[in-house]
Amino acid sequence: MSGLALQNVVKEFGAFKAVNDVDLTVPHGTFVCMLGPSGCGKTTLLRMIAGLDLPTSGAIRLDGEDITRVPTHKRNLGMVFQSLALFPHLTVGENIAYSLRIRGAPKEDQKKRVEELLSMIHLSGYADRPVSKLSGGQRQRVAIARALAISPKLFLLDEPLSALDAKLREAMQVELRQLQQKLGITTIVVTHDQREAMTMADTVVVMSGGEIRQAASPIEIYRRPADSFVADFIGQTNLIEVESDTRNHVTVLGQPVPGLQLPPGAAKATISIRPEDVHLTAPGAGALTGTVTFVRDLGGTIETFVEAGDRQIVAVSTPRERPEVSVGQQVGIALTPDVCVVLRK
């Protein structure tokens, strides 16, 4: 089949398992973001795909061919490093032409391709500049162009935008996504920034402790998180323990929520409720009742912190539906079954 496939990939550093039995299929032309906290194994996984680290066991296949032991320089890939790794002794043009030059491409072809790529990244005329004279965003683009010079089968990026300031980063995310769609190249980006992942990816792979917790589209990851780690890591959420009695009547903090079902046989579970799904009502009108402890008015959104039982629940509302509440006030919390996501244990 065409695309990238990881099969039971394990990487151990001594006794430490950096990547633990990872299976993943990336169809040709997809944009995948590997997301997770630092130390979750996402960079190690990317480095194994690049051949910069060798898996302890398992296999990596590209378009059906086993490339697990193929040395990096024979994999024909393009990679953007976190440090960008632009060669300081070469000019912008020489950096971009590097992979063509060492493959012995004719000088004219190199020049033509460099011009093509420079115009693609909106830096035409920069070929003879030293890389040290570029701004952060320009260096970023040169690194991307350099990786794409040979039209690689795989485009790998390791935290590529982490050195940029917030505004530039957001602009580059959009640019990178548009570029990938135009070229239709299989792309894997490692990031710890969930906004970045949500912006760019077809598939978000959430990793933790060397394992894949969930691999799905951004919206599914957000709306249907597989477990409490994913729910908590992606966006803000309220995690609440619920119990079910023998007749499968579920109670949240001791209050019954009609219509909510747990998987058969489960007496206890955790549910995730996104703050924007929490609606405040008059005291007694909702399923739960609590006391407002803090109101954070961010202009665009308003976060209300409510203490109900021993739990803190956050509700987010827009100014349009501004809840008229103040600290110390009693409020009701409405819970409908459709907003409660029951998480896998």
Binding site: A50, H73, A85, H89, Y98, S99, I102, A147
Partner: protein, 266 residues
């Protein structure tokens, strides 16, 4: 107030360092062959003497040849070693790093005596090429230290990037590592060259009876009395060293070379 004291302190240190050289420079332009300061008359003929007098000229030629060759050999030993230590995980190979630094750390007499007994035992005592090898071993520390420092300053992701773009080990060395390490090769060579030019004891113990380098020539001349050519050679040596180190500073990062890892860690 503080800055006045500071200036005075730096002035006195500077005076201490410069005074012998000033006096020697003054002596070197004496008109007659006398050791007098302030100089009596003015003449640059003692500088001409270095090149015109065959004895001094031969010594100059011997010294420069020795320094050029031994510095090149020192770099040839240090470069593959430093590269290997940077590229591979081989803790046991650090023993060679230690061996490379030892000749310079131990009192020079020890290295000199070791080489003297060795060349004598091997039956090559007095051959000019033994001085080249001896100096290369004695000064290998300098290129080894500058090159090790140079390698640690190369971002390893540059090598990885070259590999992802299709470069094999040899190509990476030629197109990425070598251009980046070149300034450190030059500095290491320059350090070894200048020190070899000035070195006395190792040269004296290995080839002192068959060949005269400038320091040996000065020392031998000193035992039979004074000639102003010594002074002019001294001035020539100090200025050569200053020019070469000045060039290293101009084209390299001297405070970094000497401040070692400091600037990397920031």
């Amino acid at each position: 107030m503080t800055s006045v004291y500071q200036k005075l302190y730096f002035f006195l240190i500077g005076l201490f360092l410069a005074l012998p050289l000033i006096v020697v420079a003054g002596v070197s332009v004496n008109q007659k062959q006398t050791l007098a300061f302030p100089p009596e008359g003015f003449s640059t003929s003692w500088y001409g003497e270095i090149f015109l007098n065959p004895e001094w000229r031969n010594a100059l030629f011997a010294s420069v040849t020795l320094a050029l060759l031994s510095a090149a050999l020192a770099v040839a030993i240090a470069l593959p070693l430093a590269w290997f230590l940077w590229r591979r995980v081989a803790p046991w190979a650090n023993i060679f790093q230690l061996l490379g630094v030892a000749p310079f750390t131990l009192p020079p007499v020890i290295t000199a005596l070791g080489l003297l007994t060795f060349w004598a035992t091997a039956g090559f005592y007095g051959q000019p090429w033994t001085a080249v090898v001896s100096h290369a071993i004695f000064f290998v520390t300098l290129p080894l230290v500058t090159l090790s420092l140079g390698f640690t300053s190369i971002d390893r992701s540059l090598v990885e990037a070259a590999a992802t773009m299709g470069a094999d080990e040899r190509t990476i060395f030629r197109t990425v590592v070598l251009p980046l390490i070149l300034p450190y090769i030059v500095s290491g060579y320059a350090f070894a060259f200048v020190l070899s030019l000035n070195e006395y004891i190792v040269a004296y113990m290995t080839v002192g009876f068959t060949m005269e380098t400038l320091p040996i020539k000065i020392f031998n001349a000193l035992r039979y009395g004074y000639t102003p050519t010594m002074a002019s050679v001294t001035v020539l040596f100090v200025s050569t060293a200053a020019v070469i180190f000045g060039l290293v500073a101009r084209f390299g990062d001297l405070p970094k070379l000497l401040g070692a890892m400091a600037s990397d860690q920031k």
